[in-house]
Amino acid sequence: MLDDTKKIFIQESEELLEQMENALLEMEQVPDDAEHLNSVFRAIHTIKGAAGIFGFDAIVAFTHPVESVMDNVRNGIRLVDPDLVALLLKCKDHTANLVESISDGQEDISEALLEAGQTLLDELNPEQKSGALDVVKNKRENIEVSDRKNASDDNWVISLDFKSDALRNGLDPLSFINYLKRMGEIVEIITFTHDFPCWEDMEPESCYLSFRIALLSSASKEEIKSVFEFAMDDCELRIIPPRSELEKYLALLEELTGEELNKLGELLIQVGALTEQELSNALQVQSSVLSDDAATQEVKPLGEILVEQHVVSKGVVDKAVEKQESIREKIAQETQYIRVDADRLGQLINLVGELVISNAAVKLLVEKHDLADVQEVVNGVEGLVENIRDHALQLRMVQIGDTFSRFRRVVRDVSKDLNKDVELVITGGEAELDKTVVEKINDPLTHLVRNSLDHGFETPEERVAQGKPKKGVLRLNALHDSGHIVIQIADDGAGLDTKKIRKKAEEKGLIYAGQELSHREILRLIFEPGLTTKDTASNISGRGVGMDVVKRNIDALRGSIEVDSERGKGTLVTIHLPLTLAIIEGFMVGVEKERFVIPLSMVEECVEMDTNEWHLDKNSHYVNLRGQVMPYIKLSEFFGVNYQHGRRGRESLVVVRVGRAKAGIVVDRLFGELQTVIKPLGKVFQGLKGVSGATVLGSGDIALILDVQGLIGLASAKASDVKTLESV
């Protein structure tokens, strides 16, 4: 139970911290944007509040001063400058560290971490102390001028009525009151039990309690309110600031009777919110309705009641309005989204996969027994299953924008470290893909972005000397293309030095001297292990591990990566990825008795091969397809199939396209489209190229899924002439 809530806390904190970082980075660009400011404030504030409820004191202790600084910034006391943003970013990182240490299950925060936090706070505070505190003091003085003499300072009166469902909804009134103690000192607390039914009607799970609390605190109304943020729906909360108008206190009294009224009256007098005079006056007003009340009070003559006109300052009103808006926003968001465990979605998708397979089995049987009437029903079911599959997969789709915006920080930090001036431009962030894919492209993307920053961009001086704008532009773009998502990372930096790559590759023995390679082939060499054009390794890149790892990661996702670069103009890296890793539309082909599935999105067309027209011989592995040279792979030869019955019928050519490359695959039979539930082949086959997975057919047999990209790669490696694979 505790672990669950902890998990939620950690998850929410992570999300909030991410929001905070984005907002901070925006702030760096547009320092005066109130929206980002508020967003940072809200994030840190919510984390603090939640941490308080869960009792993570270290986080509260750290975030509170940060929040105060943000508050000052909001109120215009402190100005936003790059230093402050940098510092706040560090604070964000530190908070993330604190949260992480909790998620690691550490009860105590390590000394080093605490120290780091203190250093940050010290950095944050000196200015604040000199600047902000003075202003606060001034404010205080202003207030004191009009202060009532007999009222003690800063006594808040909080009326807290829990609804009867509060306990059932998992709230513990006591924990809120305990947390309130952090805000200040609880001077007095009265528990009212007037809602209590007679014992027979009492339900032990219902909450009948309400509280009137006098709190001595210098906290703002918003801060106090935030204590109850999680209970907003389950309690009625009224907070009366110190030195409020008399009517507000009186309103509190109105609904009470007898004993309780007296108690509260005393409380109000004690905390100085009301004078006895005012109280009795109030009671007199009430006595017309409740005659017995007046009798219990010592009635004093009507004096001149000094009604304080402490109009709440404009700032407070603004805050309240904003708070309301943010809550409203939050509620609106909550209705739009449901948080679901990723495992459950995974299970659902697995089940849908099994459903697809079972459906195929049913279809097979129906065809076998030739049941025309059942056929119709099965077709109907198939349509529904397809719909369910699409919707189930859709559930796991997320926008890539969040992944992209994480790189703002990377770009900012790395370019600062390298003294480069780079702007990140994000487009196509609304393109969606499977969450499991998103998680796995983060690392490769980070590599590519860092590479681009380190190798790609020149220093501002160099750029100016070359007549380029001082500021470099790094673009991240995403778009959908025939069942794939295309991610592009483009920079307008120096571009790749093909001569240097060539030289290095020769040194490493990847190619031999004088080997004829096209521009594209040379560029492709950067994905070979151990190759780096950087002469010295930095902590960012240049160790020659990276691009090959990137390629391997992308390959593992059944994707492809291509690089395009022009010296002096920039580099464009294009990644093609499948939208999902679970279920795809496949196209089944047969070779002898074996069956293989080609992802349908890669199939361009199928052509029947007439042996008279098509010239297939062992030497030239290409055919003439409507005047186009089409290299082909003969699957039977390639996979070493043994034909048991001599010559078969007509072969077919399946034309596939991967990125820019086109190729033909020669097969014996075409079976047509098939919903393919991808099953991993397992760790043993992880290094196998050309086969990316397996699927279970309706008959229970397994068909292998072809990795077209890998096949083409193998074929071009095998072919004596590297140029067989034509780039279109």
């Binding site: 074996e594 996979f639 199939v641 760790k683 992880q686 290094g687 050309g690 086969v691 397994i702 193998l714």
Partner: protein
């Protein structure tokens, strides 16, 4: 006391997956390459008949293929090809022994194709001995012990080595690149 000692320095010297061998430890015996072999009974998940197996192209002989085990794809290792160089001929008696292995924190189920499954035998400790340093035609790394049952010697296999995922996977890569060499 002996049991306790083994349990304490649980180094798993016999590659039996952390199972503490007591005197009456049982083994599933089967024949491959005309020899009697066995693995610890606790390592065996199930034994199935060979129905339809799908060949995975471009792999070495020891990878016989993949099977559909209740919706999961399970690789099958040909024990004949793995231990020697004889690919097992499929007959009515051939069986797949399913074994699960821990690999990088995940459980990986693998099948072992054998010529014939025989019986379950109890081989007490005193009837088990270290493999000879030479003299076996099977790489001694695959053998954890030699057991004696009546007049027969039984090779007790080291499943971690026989089904070593890393080694098999490396062999696949090697087999594939030997097919496709840069010329």
């Amino acid at each position: 006391m002996n049991d306790l000692a083994i349990a304490e320095n649980n180094n798993d010297p016999y590659g039996l997956g952390g199972v503490v061998m007591d005197d009456a430890y049982q083994f599933l015996t089967f024949s491959v390459l005309g020899k009697l072999m066995a693995i610890g009974i606790l390592d065996v998940k199930e034994i199935i008949e060979v129905s339809s197996m799908t060949r995975v192209p471009m792999t070495q002989n020891s990878i016989r293929g993949v099977i559909n085990l209740r919706g999961n794809v399970v690789p099958v290792v040909d024990l004949g090809a793995r231990l020697g160089s004889h690919v097992i001929k499929l007959t009515k008696k051939s069986c797949i022994v399913l074994v699960s292995l821990a690999f990088h924190g995940e459980t990986q189920t693998m099948g072992i194709l054998v010529e014939q499954v025989n019986e379950i035998l109890s081989i007490p400790e005193q009837n088990r001995q270290k493999p000879p340093d030479f003299g076996t035609d099977i790489d001694s790394k695959f053998i954890s012990q030699i057991g004696r049952y009546e007049d027969d010697f039984i090779i007790l296999l080291n499943k971690e080595k026989v089904l070593c995922v890393e080694e098999l996977s490396d062999q696949i890569v090697a087999a594939q690149s030997s097919l496709c060499v840069y010329k």
